[in-house]
């Protein structure tokens, strides 16, 4: 092995350890944050007994979950029952490896470490565990694997509530995957690349994609909620209908693996939103483009802030909106978001063609600004229609229109 390869391996292992630790500790703290945020929004205090301000609560929960008895339903399929938590947990964790979390770090070292030999690295180290060239395609592919864990958990429990939860989860995740995938096509059209690094560079040069591709962001965010099975789309575990849905029969650590998976998915979706639509680690202005240790640290911190904002946003939504009815959920996915995403692709295609080829603007910034102009018009139109209830009708409205048509039929 060449010293360069060894240096690369060493750095990769270090980054892996860092990201894994960060995600696992972060996920544990997110359970605390969720409880705190929900408490604050309900004028309560939240957990504040274990440790300072309740900071050791996740540790207490973890100890409790490890010490609790593992129960198995008598007629469960034992193999799949044990396998299912891991199957939902691993994809969630895998994804944290492909999100770039800071500006590339310039590194230059060459040293010998006893029998291991020489390690060398020259140049910019991308601050991502695996800089996969297929970028968000990888994320879409792996995140859809998470549905197997949930569906199998529901099926292998051999319980009707768990099975219903698993079925709901699979139907919901498959449906929203469509809208999610379609909502990312405008990003691809805009950047011309699926790799996260290229997408961030393009946003640095132009505008953050949330402005020129606002509806994509909107659709992606909603599908993200549905993909992570969070409120208002938490029908797979709707406690008023299904006890706890697919993890009804689980106890102890296996149960908390589902929780870890859910929060890891939340982190991934929020990191995706940040990277694809909010410039990733980009700090507005030109300062972060010089490169350097300071820039790497600052961009990492800024990425963390943006990530935390979106995670907070997810919790905020959870404690604000009530749960959807199942038919409303499906109608929103197939009848609103998917056609909207398809129409938006056409609009963006036309707009980009018009801007680049007819108007001849190819500079990233003017192009993004022009697209932003298009988006203001499209966004106002879509939100006006959404607001007036053309896409989604309230049940009271539907009733009256049906009643009206019924009356018309009688008189006619």
């Amino acid at each position: 092995m060449t010293p360069e390869m060894k240096g690369f391996l060493l750095l990769s292992v270090l980054k892996m350890v860092f990201v894994f630790t960060f995600v696992m500790v972060g996920v544990a703290l997110l359970t605390l944050m969720e409880r705190k945020v929900s408490a604050w929004m309900q004028n309560r205090r939240g957990p504040n007994r274990v440790g300072w301000a309740g900071l050791l609560q996740p540790a207490a929960d973890g100890v409790k979950n490890i010490l609790k008895e593992e129960t198995y339903p008598a007629l469960a399929n034992r193999w799949l029952f044990v396998l299912a938590p891991a199957m939902s947990f691993i994809p969630a964790l895998l994804l944290s490896g492909v999100i770039p979390f800071a500006a590339p770090l310039p590194l230059d070292f060459d040293f010998t470490l006893g029998p291991l030999g020489r390690f060398a690295y020259h140049g910019l180290m991308p601050m991502v565990v695996a800089d996969v060239p297929i970028g968000f395609l990888f994320v879409l592919a792996i995140s859809s694997l998470g549905v197997y864990g949930i569906a199998l958990a529901g099926w292998s429990s051999n319980s009707k509530y768990a099975l219903l939860g698993g079925l709901r989860a699979s139907a919901q995740m498959v449906s929203y995957e469509v809208a999610m995938g379609l909502s990312l096509i405008p990003v691809l059209l805009m950047s011309g690349n699926v790799s996260f690094e290229a997408i961030i560079r393009d946003q640095q040069a132009g505008l953050w994609y949330v402005l020129p591709l606002f509806l994509s962001f909107f659709i992606f965010l909603i599908s993200g909620f549905a993909e992570t099975n969070r409120l208002p789309f938490d029908l797979p575990e709707a406690e008023s209908e299904l006890i706890a849905g697919y993890h009804t029969e689980y106890s102890a650590m296996k149960f908390s693996f589902f929780f870890i998976a859910e929060y890891a998915n939340v982190v991934t979706v929020c990191a995706m939103v940040t990277t694809l639509f909010f410039g990733g680690w980009d700090i507005p202005g030109r300062w972060d483009e010089q490169g350097g240790v300071l820039q790497t640290i600052a961009t990492g911190g800024f990425f963390f802030l943006k990530l935390m904002f979106w995670i907070f946003f997810v919790m905020w939504i959870r404690w604000t909106l009530p749960r959807f009815r199942y038919d409303q959920l499906m109608a929103l996915g197939w009848k609103v978001l998917m056609p909207l995403a398809l129409a938006y692709i056409m609009v963006i295609c036309t707009a980009i063609y018009g801007i680049e080829h007819l108007a001849g603007i190819t500079d990233p910034k003017p192009k993004a600004l022009a697209l932003f102009g298009v988006n203001v018009v499209v966004g106002l139109l879509v939100f006006g229609l959404l607001d007036s209830g053309v896409f989604i009708k309230g049940s009271s409205r539907r009733q009256t229109s049906e009643a009206r048509s019924g009356r018309a039929a009688v008189t006619g």
Partner: protein
């Protein structure tokens, strides 16, 4: 029309999901900064907002007279009326012919805290108390004997007064 049927006018254009969502989010966000209402229980036992009612029926207390003797005359009305049959009373009589309880035990596990014993007592001796912290290390400690009932110091329940139904 014999029966007055009120036809509700249903709102027709109440479908503004976008505005409703934003309104809801603003509301929950506002609540994050409002004062918290949780009572911090072990540190903070009773506040003006969170004090238990004077009519609360908790664990019992036996009142004593000036000489420190039990007010109970062992008439046997309380074990008679007790729906849970949790009062054990063995009456005794001294040289002057005064009746007093030899054994008076209340099993607080069987008690349903109806307060009939307090209502029926002619001497106002046995009372249910305004008290709720009852933890013990053994089940046996929940059978309160006479000495235990005497030594309780918590306030006694005022019960419900039919002439003053709202407690004013």
């Amino acid at each position: 029309m014999a029966i007055g049927v009120k036809v509700m006018k249903r709102p027709e254009r109440q479908v503004s999901y976008v505005r409703a969502t934003l309104k809801g989010m603003a509301l929950t966000f506002k609540h994050m900064f409002e004062p918290k209402v949780t009572m911090q229980y072990p540190e903070q036992k009773s506040t003006t907002e969170w004090s238990i009612s004077q009519r609360w029926r908790g664990t019992h207390r036996m009142l004593t007279d000036e000489q420190g003797r039990s007010k109970c005359v062992a008439c046997g009305l309380c074990p008679q009326i007790c729906p849970a049959n949790c009062i054990k009373l063995v009456p005794g009589e001294d040289e002057q012919g005064n009746r007093y309880p030899l054994i008076y035990e209340i099993d607080e596990f069987r008690c349903v805290f109806c307060g009939y014993c307090q209502e029926v007592c002619p001497e106002e001796a046995i009372h249910v108390g305004v008290h709720f912290e009852n933890s013990e290390y053994s089940r046996g400690r929940f059978v309160y004997d006479l000495e235990r009932l005497h030594s309780q110091t918590h306030p006694v329940s005022t019960l419900w007064d039919p002439t003053d139904p709202r407690g004013e």
